[in-house]
């Protein structure tokens, strides 16, 4: 995690105190300079090139679209942004998936070279900034929202250092207007921001990282008894939550120290009493992005709702990484959500907000989500073996 790098803390002290000391007119420039230094340190000069080129393309397309409606320019910009993400993150996976199965019977030696090809290392945070650019292009090009005119504001939206590495995924209509009135936070806000940063570090270092050891112990168990599998599912679910929500707390805390608001990512997700509720509380900046720019444009719940839901969740799963287990995790949640929507439509009384039914729903939802973490973290073969042995052995081992 970048936030645990000692360099980051020296940088953060300098960047935040310098920002507080800066006169109001220079704050945006200072913040942009700090964000570029951060990007240079962690991405290197080669890693900065894609974000600079894609930022310039997105910014320019936004300005062009405000002058005249040009669906070709919009399509090209979408293709470049999404294409960059696919090239860096999914190309080798797609080649292996599409070409791999037929490699044996078409020109094996040429196919072998293709299969051994690997994309260059993905630029820092490409999954996050490309999603922010797709959001920008969609809002400006399709929903006709006014584009950002200031280069500095757009560059800050693209590279703002607290959220650059792992989000939360920002929305420009919320973020950019704040840049017009940058001012130092008061003592109460600084204290609240500092508490948030400390809480984030505590979640990451004192909870998530300490869960790694018991997870390793369970992974080395001689057999997958039901208690081992349940233990692994629960601990992996806790670890990913404390790890990522800790990261988010640090990012939100640093943004608050600079007097800026960024979206939240988690709202006590393991209290959810249904899958729909869970996805409203888990990684909210990503799930709202998937809803707005994948699910609704596909047709949302107007037609083929179940298919759209499953496709959107598979894309959500693949966003986490180029591997089949992430796709399966998305498929699992998509199918669960579609099934739950069907039950909700036929038996609405089961979804009463309080009472024993809510507890039963919480148990089912927590169990479903926890089992899903096994699909997320382990290869499919391992999960099948775990499940088969757990059902055979039971809790006795």
């Amino acid at each position: 995690m970048i936030f645990l790098d000692p360099w980051f803390w020296k940088f953060a002290v300098l960047a935040v105190t310098g920002y507080w000391l800066c006169p109001a007119v220079l704050k945006r420039i200072w913040l942009l300079a700090a964000s570029l230094v951060f990007q240079y340190e962690f991405a290197g000069p080669a890693g900065m090139l894609p974000i600079i080129l894609l930022s310039a393309l997105t910014y320019g397309t936004g300005l062009l679209l405000s002058v005249r409606r040009d669906s070709r320019a919009l399509a090209l910009a979408f293709a470049a942004v999404i294409g960059a993400l696919i090239f860096y993150k999914y190309a080798a996976f797609l080649v292996a998936t599409v070409v791999g199965p037929v490699a044996g019977w078409i020109a094996p030696e040429r196919v072998q070279a293709l299969l051994e090809w690997r994309s260059p290392a993905a630029p820092l945070a490409i999954s996050f900034f490309t999603f922010e650019f797709v959001h920008y292009l969609y809002e400006v090009g399709v929903r006709r929202v006014a584009p950002v005119r200031s280069v500095v504001d757009f560059a800050l939206f693209a590279t703002f250092f607290p959220t650059l590495a792992s989000g939360p995924i920002k929305r420009f209509p919320d973020f950019v207007p704040q840049l017009a009135q940058l001012r130092n936070p008061n003592a109460g806000q600084i204290w609240s921001a500092a508490r948030r940063v400390v809480l984030g570090l505590f979640k990451k270092i004192c909870i998530a990282d300490l869960l790694v050891e018991p997870i390793r112990v369970l992974e080395k168990s001689p057999e997958w008894s039901a208690s081992v599998v349940v233990g692994l599912a629960v601990l992996q679910g806790a670890r990913i939550y404390y790890d990522f929500s800790g990261y988010t707390d640090i990012a939100v805390g640093f943004a608050q120290m600079l007097g800026l608001r960024v979206p939240e990512n988690f709202d006590r997700p393991y209290r959810a009493t249904s899958l729909q509720d869970f996805w409203r509380r888990w990684h909210m900046s990503l799930t709202s992005w998937i809803r707005d720019y994948v699910y609704i444009p596909m047709g949302g719940n107007r037609r083929r709702a179940a298919v759209n839901l499953i496709a959107a969740l598979v894309i959500c799963g693949l966003w986490h990484g180029a591997a089949w287990n992430f796709a399966l995790w998305g498929l699992y949640h998509g199918a669960g959500l579609a099934f739950e929507a069907g039950v909700r439509a036929r038996l609405p009384r089961l979804f009463a907000p309080k009472g024993p039914r809510a507890f039963v729903r919480w148990s089912v939802c927590y169990g479903f989500v926890s089992y899903g973490w096994l699909l997320f973290f382990y290869p499919i073969d391992t999960v099948i073996e775990m499940t088969r042995e757990a059902l055979r052995c039971g809790f006795g081992g």
């Binding site: 508490r195 809480l199 570090l201 505590f202 270092i205 004192c206 990282d209 050891e213 112990v217």
Partner: protein, 38 residues
């Protein structure tokens, strides 16, 4: 008023304890009791 003060003081104490744990673990001088729970 006193309730607000109490909440503030509790917040300070909790944050300091969290910071203490973070610094102890981060600098690898964490007392072994932290692992006892597991």
């Amino acid at each position: 008023m006193w309730l607000r003060r109490l909440r503030f003081v509790a917040g300070v104490v909790v944050t300091l304890l969290q910071l203490l744990c973070v610094l102890a673990l981060w600098s690898n001088v964490a007392p072994p009791f932290i692992y006892v729970a597991f």
